[in-house]
């Protein structure tokens, strides 16, 4: 099996797809770094020349005032308390929350690329994994070896797993390495809030707690990897079913973009939440953003994705081992 996976990796490398992906990331990261840098500069200008400590102190006083008001809801009070402790933590530890370091950039970058950019990159790698063998005719040589078909497909799947892990890792390394030049490399221990849940219009805060940024980032990258694997598996299935790589890419691209559009408009069409593509934004659950459709939660989205992924995996393996090859 190791030999088979090595074969697949050799073919992947020779097709130069991975280099292209790395180049795309290496090109985009400086772009976003610059954008982020501009934004921070903008904010600084608005604040004038005020020291960030003074600003933060003002915010803390503000929060304390609101907390002392008696007409405040319990939920909200708890949230404010957490916010307060976060702000106080920043001040005590002399951390400027508005001057993000490379880890903060990593976090923001990955949160914004989880639902479209990374799935697209994954798709570029996976789309032709099997379909290129069918359309190029090499599948005839591949499948007339003394190796069972499912083992050949599994070797391709494992090669996909390795490539996806490599892409996610490169995103981490490149975004940290490149943005650090501008923002500095510190900030791993910056405390962040997580554990929000949304119910209806309300933000539930009973599970909210503070985690250091490195833990937060680790969590988000885990989710990113998971999303990429699911998107990869579905692309893989299409690649088995279709001979044409262009068709695979077309279908995947259409679903991903449809997902991005749907996420903005389907709040009243409830069953749309069972589509895989509206469930890709897993990092939103960590940072506590509103969900596109009511009743969605991290667990729900992960389960929906898992079902799609498992179904895709089964369809791919069953068809591949039985199919007639013309």
């Amino acid at each position: 099996m190791i030999n088979l996976v090595r074969n697949e990796m050799l073919k992947l490398l020779r097709k130069k797809r991975l280099y292209v992906i790395i180049l795309i990331i290496a090109f985009l990261v400086p772009l976003f770094t610059y954008a982020q840098f501009k934004e921070i500069q903008d904010q600084r200008e608005k604040m004038g020349n005020q020291d960030w400590r003074t600003t933060l102190q003002q915010e803390i006083t503000d929060t304390q005032n609101r907390l002392s008001s008696s007409r405040i809801q319990d939920e909200w009070r708890k949230f404010l308390k957490i916010r307060l402790s976060q702000q106080q933590y920043y001040l005590e530890n002399d951390i400027d929350p508005r001057a993000p370091g490379a880890p903060t950039f990593m976090r923001i970058f990955v949160e914004n690329s989880i639902d479209l950019l990374l799935p697209l990159l994954v798709m570029v790698i996976v789309a032709d994994l099997v379909s290129s063998e069918s359309s190029g005719g090499t599948i005839k040589l591949l499948l007339t070896r003394p190796v069972k078909r499912w083992r050949i497909l599994l070797s391709k799947y494992l090669a996909m797993l390795l490539s996806i892990s490599f892409i996610v890792l490169s995103v981490a390394v490149l975004s940290y390495g490149i943005s650090g030049v501008v923002f500095g490399y510190g900030g791993w221990n910056m405390p962040l809030l997580t554990g929000f849940t949304v119910s209806g219009d309300e933000l539930l805060t009973e599970n909210v707690h503070i985690v250091p940024q490195w833990q937060y980032i680790l969590m988000e990258f885990g989710l990113v990897w998971y999303v990429c694997m699911i998107v990869g598996t579905l692309t893989f299935m299409l690649s088995v079913l279709l001979r044409s790589t262009a068709a695979v890419m077309g279908i995947m691209l259409a679903s991903l973009i449809a997902g991005a559009i749907l996420a903005n408009m389907v709040s009243s069409w409830e069953s749309a939440k069972y589509f895989f593509m509206v469930n890709l934004n897993l990092t939103n659950y960590v940072s506590g953003m509103a969900t596109p459709i009511e009743g969605m939660s991290l667990g729900f989205s992960m389960s929906v994705l898992a079902v799609w992924g498992i179904a895709g995996f089964i369809v791919a393996f069953v068809t591949f081992s039985k199919r007639d090859i013309y």
Partner: protein, 304 residues
């Protein structure tokens, strides 16, 4: 012969989308023979070959390679098989060497030293480290054969191996195939719609048309059996009447009559003609080309 056949195909059928494409094909290959699979376009040669190499599953029938059933003992059967189905499609973005390494890695029983052996056998030493996308068709064909021979197979299956080769290439391929069968005791199944090719290269032939094998025999037998006698006699109508009483007669070109070759009866027929006052100007035997034979067996279905 008591040897186990290298390849045994029994009552093979295949239905695609309700259409019967292969209708009960059977044949066997003994070790060391070159077996021709001859049929017009669309006869079902490639479909049969795809079933033999396990790319498509037969609707019914069994296939054994080296005694191993392709359906139930797939990996064991494939160990004895090398093949090129239709075109030799290799990975164009890999070098010839990398292509071979790729296939060597898929079968742990092949040592790396085997690579140099097959490369030398097909004569690709000089270009083996170039990318396949820069190869000519002839070189791809050789690389295709090299990969088919990697696992030291007992059975080699080549679907139209001379497709696209120039006359020199065709000749070389033919000699190469004969040499493989002779020196390595390999059984080779060659499909083709080029009759001349099969005639020169094969020991035995199966003629296939519309999904059925019409005849299977040695090339010599098939030809001998169809030996004809060409008559030129005058008056031709009288000659025809007389001969028709003895045997089957057809009219040939240039006012000739054609009958089967039947050595013991031939003097008799001649005598009868002479007695009836027919002048026999010419009487000669003719071996048909495989082409004529083919046209006859397939009922004149067009070829090429």
């Amino acid at each position: 012969m008591s040897q186990t056949p290298a390849l045994e195909v029994k009552n093979l059928t295949k239905k695609i989308k309700g259409k019967q494409i292969i209708k009960g094909v059977s044949f066997t290959l003994v070790p060391g023979e070159v077996f021709g699979f001859l049929g017009p376009n669309g006869a079902g040669k490639t479909t049969t070959i795809r079933m033999i190499v396990g790319l498509i599953s037969p609707t019914s029938g069994t296939i054994k390679i080296g005694g191993k059933n392709v359906r139930t003992e797939f990996t064991e059967a494939m160990r004895h098989l090398g093949c090129i189905v239709e075109n030799p499609e290799l990975y164009p973005y890999l070098t010839g060497w990398e292509n071979l390494i790729h296939f060597q890695k898929m079968d742990s029983s092949i040592p790396k030293t085997r690579l140099n052996e097959v490369i030398e056998l097909v004569g690709l030493q000089n270009r083996i480290h170039d990318r396949v996308s820069t190869y000519s068709l002839g070189m791809r064909q050789r690389l295709g054969i090299a990969q088919a021979l990697l696992g030291k197979p007992k059975v080699l299956i080549l679907d139209e191996p001379t497709n696209g080769l120039d006359p020199a290439g065709i000749r070389e391929m033919r000699e190469f195939i004969r040499q493989l069968a002779r020196d390595e005791n390999l059984s080779v199944l060659v499909s083709s719609h080029l009759l001349s090719e099969i005639q020169l290269m094969c020991d035995r032939v199966a003629i296939i048309s519309k999904g059925s094998v019409l005849r299977t025999d040695s090339v010599d037998n098939l030809l001998a059996e169809q030996e004809r006698v060409i008559w030129r006699a005058e008056p031709i109508q009288v000659a025809k009447e007389i001969l028709s009483m003895e045997t089957e007669v057809t009219e040939g070109p240039d006012h000739t009559l054609i009958t089967l070759y039947n050595e013991p009866l031939l003097p008799d027929w001649n005598e009868k003609l002479v007695k009836a006052g027919v002048k026999v100007k010419e009487m000669r035997t003719q071996l048909p080309s495989l082409e004529d034979l083919f046209l006859e067996v397939t009922g004149g279905e067009s070829i090429d």
